[in-house]
Subunit: 275 residues, 3 copies
């Protein structure tokens, strides 16, 4: 393990322990598919999930939370209104918030919702490669084009690096693009995590749960870039550990959540790979 | 095992068998996080779940059900209207119904919704310690105050006993306050169940599923107090049995639901602890 | 194994491989209980799920999908509108679509929604015995009557065969009625699959996930009758294989989804039973 990788592993291990100590309260406005796995992942890692989503509740609840995660997976016009109210409250209360722009770049309502939410200044934007490219395209930062294909990515991680940097600079935030190689950029720095397993793409909403857990790390980390790197390190390493005990995607999901509960800094140190 | 505990265990075992025999139809208007685990817990125990929630359907469906469970977890203004329609139908049709006031005491919409629902006379109110204190505070029965913290309880079970009794007397219903020690009171009697494991708090919506299963026991039990005690006995003992086969919260959840399907009266008799 | 059964097994194995190769994009407008298991079943089998449900998105998304599945499980007036928009778009874009009429025959809103959706000509209607009888009753094709009982079937598979044939002829579609014996009819042909295990009825929304997976097979199959038979063959055989590794309904669910990921044509050939 190189010096840089060791430093990232040490930082990730410290944040992992900080989440478990601080038990940050993470509000999730997420899709109907991911609610169960997102809440369970947050509980496993030691955080406290709250799936409060109503526009009547978000402004009041915002004062109590440590972070907000907005995921546009099962979007509707009503849900988009809720998301805007919550993002606005987070900005007003200076709470960090993360945007997971599921399926961005494809359908009009998604693109318009992303455009409505970005002015409230997300702390982190987390998507797969094609979603990050989708957001840069919505903003006119690139002219890539790709047909939407559900929520699964069709672009390679290599393609997306320039898009991630451009988006991070434009939005002055941290951008995470997950794929075979996970990329994090805050516009200046860049990190590439090479852990994980393709089995992670066979469990629905595992990426959504990554966004929620990133919210917990973001709540305790000093810099969103570090929070994003640490979460990817934990997820990638946990994925590899879970694969050793899995007969298929469902037993993998069980093993993965179990390991989120038991993973320690030493596991990250032993297994983290950056490129 | 003392004489009283043995009597509660015998009663719990009988109700467990009665649920499996009668297969009560339990309507659940519950949150988006708990739908899966609530329905699976009801099926495991031998009951028949129905997640019918629309205000257009509840009045008609109410005639066919054996019990109704309302859980305000992922509340919205629209959902609150649905809940009132269903509670009203249950009262009109003399069907027992249970209120799970998730997060009560914290956010305005939750408090107002609880106030709207209580006049329809729930048979059982089931919450964690801070939610039960929250409801008594909404009703002006106590002057406790606590900041909301997601759906996790921050009060000890000891603190809540007086609140549970006061609430049971005020609402003329049975109150269940879960925690390290689970408390049941109908305003006169009190029972304290000491089974369970902290791992149960690391599985999202397990408490919500307890409410749904209490609905099934309430449908076959002669007295809601007995139904509540029996459900807590089954859940606490099943939790301890599941822990023996769990490597973390996700395998615990699997083992727990499996055991709900196979648990027998003899298991309750062997393990029930009251204080 | 008789000649006919061997032919169905061979056809089923080929479609299983075709789904995995083609990775069809299946849009699901399904109930809140089944979203997780439906998406995971589709991923396990090698398909690509999208839970896009908003009326604002369906017309645009319809151009990209390979099949649509509509399940009325947790119905509401708003959801019914969404379903009509999606069914209309599927018909316009000549995309195959499947209707899962959960609880049909019982509640007014369900019956009216089924009546609204049928004119858009579903490719397949998939329900349990009492739901298929319910639909024929809504259409005045039979005079059977049964009180609704949640989503669990109370009619035997034998009773429903005539109803399935009548419905298939009336709607000019393929009808699937699941039960101890699963029945498929396109109005002319009939197939009866005898695989499966009662444990499948103890896992919530497993039937809903069958509908979603039928959507994937329908997207790659030349005839909906074959797609339906192949899906039932895969599900029934996978259910029997999963039972060998299950201690109860939750470990059964895990084993079942794992096996959906690993099941091969040879498994179908070795185990398929028709009657």
């Amino acid at each position: 393990m190189g010096k840089d990788t060791a430093a990232l592993a040490a930082m990730s291990g410290k944040l992992l322990e900080a989440v478990s100590r601080a038990r940050p309260l993470v509000q999730n406005i997420t899709n109907f598919v991911s609610m169960d796995i997102a809440a369970n992942a947050l509980l496993a890692i030691g955080a406290s999930p709250a799936m409060v989503h109503a526009p009547e509740e978000s402004p009041e609840f915002s004062k109590f939370i440590n972070a907000l995660v907005i995921n546009i997976g099962t979007l509707s016009a009503v849900a988009a209104d809720s998301m805007e109210v919550a993002a606005q409250a987070a900005q007003r209360n200076k709470k960090p918030w993360l945007l997971d722009p599921v399926g961005a770049g494809g359908l009009t309502l998604r693109n318009e919702t992303v455009k409505r939410l970005l002015p409230y200044r997300p702390t982190i934007i987390r998507g797969n490669a094609s979603e990050i490219i989708g957001v840069t395209r919505i903003l006119g930062l690139t002219d890539n084009s790709a047909a939407p294909r559900g929520v699964d990515s069709t672009s390679s991680a290599d393609d997306v690096e320039a898009n991630a940097i451009a988006l991070a600079r434009h939005c002055q935030c941290t951008v995470v693009a997950t794929g075979d190689i996970d990329i994090v950029s805050d516009g200046e720095r860049i990190a590439r995590i090479a852990n994980g397993t393709p089995m992670m793409t066979r469990v629905t909403a595992l990426g959504c749960s990554l966004s929620s857990v990133t919210g917990a790390f973001m709540a305790v980390g000093e810099h969103p870039f570090d929070a994003a790197v640490a979460t990817l390190a934990v997820y990638g390493v946990a994925g590899e550990m879970a694969l050793e005990n899995a007969a298929g995607p469902a037993s993998f999901r069980v093993a993965f959540l179990d390991i989120l509960h038991t993973i320690r800094a030493t596991d990250i140190h032993a297994r983290l790979r950056t490129v």
